[in-house]
Symmetry: C2
Subunit: 400 residues, 2 copies
């Protein structure tokens, strides 16, 4: 096993918080002294099986623990998923059926093991213990915490204060997640910072059972490609790990500039010395290196290079991104503003006019300068809006 | 089956509230039309097995339903008792073991069936369903209500506002009580007014199951012998139904005057026309009639008359109540004030002095008029304070 210093230097990269802070080094030292690997817990409720780069921040940390010789335990929350983690939510989740959850779980694992080493992972389903748990034991769990403590949790507090509904069953979720830690005897539980309350429940319940309590290691929440909100499918600012190399490269290469440093730190193994200067000197080159690194993790270096080439062709106007939408129009004369609105590029003529005035609209490579222009559409055309939005206009046959 | 009017006139006696008010008559009429008796639920958690007259208010109502042909279902909360009903509590109840609960349940039923007809009662233990209930079903129950709704319940609200702890498991109790109603398909649930929230949970859960919901019939809380606080063992103002005929008669005969009317209404079948006038004309005679009636319910008319005779002897100073405490003193000379304090009749000399000035202290039948009096105690003596407090003073042998 690597030394304590080596382990900490790998494991602490990108970490937002360790609770309690002083116990991680002790646990690692004990593991080195005894030769017994630490048990590193990650609990996932496969409510939606699509993994994006935001999820991989924690998974990459698991992989680092594995590479240092520790034991990862993945808890598939087949039972808890039926309740749905209320963490960070502002409304009650819909309940899922067990079949849905198990189907999701299968898809989830296929993606999960692109990052985490399958051979070095113990997989547990929490239905194994919760399906057998008596009502009496449930009340014992529920008796471990007060209503006031629950309502101190930030998202619950906000909802309660704003008179948004909190269903009583949502109070059971953190206790179930906590109980998982007793079952698998975890030493460290990983999670995003929004998991702090739940992870501390595990610590509390383990102590009540007379066990050495786990510590919580919390990773920051990754911002999405827009650089403003957390990465989430529902915000449309995500990079899915099942996307094509081209799409993945394209999305990463075009992220908001301010993300570049944190994405390097959280999504690659590159030393800080390598990327810090590059970001300052040449942000586009830095994003290219970042995108190459990330795409290589899910494909290979050759695929990444090929994607980089295609991205270059797109930016020089020679090629369209693979996800360019196709819009069907009848041949004929169109006012440029009407055209832009009918293909869905703008919601109002005012917006379209401003973009034309800023030289931001091209038709098949030619910059449009007059917003009163009439266009004869009698063949395929490519409409480009700003740097990155493309529309392929094709003709509806009029000979039907 | 008796007519709707007859049934309502019996059943509505003493009732504080029916929720919803208009449904009781409908349920009874339907039962008359179909010949199917109503299922009348009472749930009890035998946490403490001693039944006093306060508990009998609801039991007598059950008996009335039985006498009208309806089916009583007694739910012994062997499972819920392990949690403990938080209703009206200002702190979390200690959890009881199943053995303790079952032992209590046995004692409880022996007393319960002094009032309710055993032959016409279906007894169910809620452990039958809760011991088999899955965690998943528990979360479904918990999902039927919000935290805000729970915190609207008066006792929870008070505790939450006063920063007194409410354990999360206490939120499960009303849902369990409610679920009992689904299992036994109750039409009416009886309870004290402090049970309103829980009984309405049953109504709500039955509706969610697509059942015709039960209605709640709430009896007032009986005040204890002091006429101030609710009857309760812990306030010392109770009349236990296992007490001797003499003690029972003595306690009832000596209740605060203002209780007489409500006790007649809630604890006897006497028509209001009989007791109303009597109370106005001769309160002592009214209380004598009340005590005779109540004692006759648990013993018989002869035992009640005998108890009345002994009570009369006590009031005329010829006999002591059977529960008179015996106080042991060494023979010798005592100042009257010291004596009254050493036997525990008063906490301070000031109080004792005032009582003597009001001619409220007798020694063996003689009114004490001088609070400086010295008494030679060389034989047994009876100290009487006010009308109803007696102490039997006996000598400690000094010849040891």
């Amino acid at each position: 096993m690597p030394s304590l210093e080596e382990q900490l230097s790998v494991l602490m990269r990108g970490v937002q918080e360790v609770v309690p802070e002083n116990e991680l080094a002790k646990k690692i030292q004990k593991s080195i002294d005894t030769g017994v690997p630490l048990r590193i817990k990650l609990g996932v409720d496969p409510t939606a099986p699509d993994i994006h780069l935001g999820h991989t921040v924690v998974m990459r940390k698991l992989r680092q623990f594995q590479d240092l010789g520790h034991q990862v335990v993945l808890i598939v929350g087949d039972y808890t998923a039926m309740i749905g983690d209320p963490s960070g939510r502002n409304s009650t989740r819909p309940r899922l059926s067990h079949e849905q959850v198990m189907e999701n779980a299968k898809e989830y694992q296929e993606q999960f093991f692109k990052i985490v080493n399958r051979e070095k992972t113990e997989i547990r389903y929490n239905g194994d213990w919760f399906s057998k748990m008596s009502f009496n034991k449930v009340t014992e769990l529920a008796g471990s915490i007060t209503v006031a403590q629950m309502l101190e949790r930030k998202d619950f507090k906000t909802r309660y204060t704003n008179a948004q509904e909190i269903s009583v069953h949502e109070f059971l979720y953190p206790l179930m997640q906590g109980y998982d830690s007793i079952e698998i005897k975890s030493d460290v539980e990983l999670g995003g910072t929004d998991q702090k309350f739940n992870v501390l429940r595990g610590r509390d319940l383990q102590q009540r059972e007379g066990m050495e309590p786990q510590i919580g290691l919390f990773m920051p929440i990754l911002l999405g490609t827009d650089g403003e909100q957390k990465m989430s499918k529902s915000f449309g600012n995500y990079v899915g790990i099942n996307e094509t190399a081209d799409t993945m490269f394209h999305k990463v290469y075009n992220i908001a500039d301010n993300l570049t440093e944190s994405w390097f730190e959280l999504l690659t193994d590159k030393p800080k010395s390598e990327f810090s200067d590059l970001i300052k000197k040449d942000i586009l080159q830095a994003k290219r290196v970042l995108a190459l690194d990330i795409v290589s993790q899910y494909y290979d270096a050759a695929a990444a290079e090929a994607a980089a080439e295609r991205e270059k062709a797109i930016h020089s106007g020679n090629e369209l991104p693979s996800d360019t939408p196709e819009v069907k129009l009848a041949a004929g004369n169109y006012g440029i503003l009407d055209l832009l609105i009918s293909i869905g590029a703008f919601a109002s003529k005012g917006e379209a006019r401003r973009m034309i005035q800023n030289s931001g609209v091209k038709i098949s490579g030619r910059i449009v300068s007059d917003f009163n222009e009439q266009l004869m559409i009698d063949n395929e055309a490519v409409v480009q809006v700003g740097k990155r939005k493309f529309y392929r206009v094709v003709l509806i046959s009029t000979l039907l």
